[in-house]
Point group: C2
Chain length 318, copies 2
Amino acid sequence: MPTIKDLGEKKLLQWLQTFCQADSVGDDAALVHLDPFQDLVITTDVLVDGVHFSEQTTGPFEVGYRSAGANLSDLAAMGATPLGLTVGLSLPPELPLDWLEKLYQGINALNTPIIGGDLTRSSVITIGITAIGQVLPSRVIKRSNAKVGDLIVVTGWHGLSRGGLELLLKPALSKRLDPDVVKSLIDAHQRPRPRLDVIDVLWSIPQLDRVAGMDSSDGLADAIVQICNSSKVGAQIDSLACPAQLQGWLSQKDALDWILYGGEDFELVLTMAKPFAEKLVSQLGPPAAIIGQITQNQEIYLVGDNSSLDLCKGFQHF
Amino acid sequence: MPTIKDLGEKKLLQWLQTFCQADSVGDDAALVHLDPFQDLVITTDVLVDGVHFSEQTTGPFEVGYRSAGANLSDLAAMGATPLGLTVGLSLPPELPLDWLEKLYQGINALNTPIIGGDLTRSSVITIGITAIGQVLPSRVIKRSNAKVGDLIVVTGWHGLSRGGLELLLKPALSKRLDPDVVKSLIDAHQRPRPRLDVIDVLWSIPQLDRVAGMDSSDGLADAIVQICNSSKVGAQIDSLACPAQLQGWLSQKDALDWILYGGEDFELVLTMAKPFAEKLVSQLGPPAAIIGQITQNQEIYLVGDNSSLDLCKGFQHF
């Protein structure tokens, strides 16, 4: 009898979509049309001890922070403002209360109210967070909205979270690096900031009428590929910058690998017409930057590298 | 260092509420005020293999049906109409696809669209379902709304789900019972119907302006106790009927125990002024019934039994 493992994550998710409401599932979160002035955006993430976090790399505060942050980043990716979070916990009865307190402190550090939840016992710590947000229907950010000629904006550095993970997994590496660099990389991994702040800045730009995009939690390359596939366009990436914290101790090839495929930076990757992109980058300031443009040819090129992105390197959960 | 188990479920939930938004948590679900014409109602339930279900009593269809049903019953308990469900799953990679298909079929059997979710691997099957509903702010059903003189209405039988569980745990018992009785008890346990249908009937009653109540998923006694505690009133229960399916094979004492404390019947327990209660019961028809009334004296009496309800028999998760 075929199992989940046999099918693989991608096919499994496609198959599960046949059970879901066709027009609501997709992009980073579900969309429910309430009335002409309100869409609800709803997103769920489940974190499992030993799969998504471990005592070595992520304490309870960081588990809470990251799981709430991942959900809020999904709201930001759709252009939504958070209304609240629900927290569904399955916990071993022997878990110290101190662990649970730090988990909740981590969730609350993101300043979105916890409005409900459920608590049950299990042999494996499992944390399911659902975030609910709202957005004007005309301001929903979709992956499928990119147009040829759009510039591609990133709202911050990529590769830092992957750098922090490396230092947590191989603490000896830290001795060779400046303590400030170590701290900033580990912070980037443990407390990535969902870019809800970008949404207000975005819609303060006069005459902006269309934005495509998503967040980069599964990696910058994945975000570009998803946007291009959904919009049936290509992209030319010509100015990827390497964060100072990765320079010096990584080869250029490894640094590029982490920037493109590292993941979990929770930045936004947005495309829009040139004048708006330039305005957004100037208002956000560095490290927000224009990294390339959307092209008609349905391929993705890294200029300088002369290679198309490797689409198969995404993280597979199964 | 104190653990979750040391604190116990009740104190643990009280303590966790200090991390939550004060005015939204409580009753059966969270309430978010969107605008003068809309409140959102959000509820989450987590089911864990070996804790909330087992292969012996609950196949995958029933696990899906019951977990979606529990959430929808929470929406009904607040007077809300469902907008959609999200499904967060943690599953062992060796799980047969057939199991997953039946789970989703069970969720979909309740006719509320699945609008999103997350899927991850774990050693323990864990199902987190979040339901989102909407309700007019003036029509929110609250536990704290009961007034002295209100009649107490139940929308259906209690004790049937507990009866079905008994037959599933002790299959030999079934041989002594009529096959139709066996089927109806097992159905009551495996596929309890959330009473969303009651909400429309309720608000079709002219001049109805206030309803208190909750669902009876944690037992009829628990529902009465919660309503009385929240409303600072008491209750006199004087006409509890015993469903025909429990008569004959149970002592009167055991039948009363299952009716009061069995749980998981997913009916609504509502209180309202006498003329509205009578109208509701007549519109719903049997087995909907008036079982007693709200009293000033903050105690709960079972007339005939001459004893106050045992408040300590609720299900403890830890």
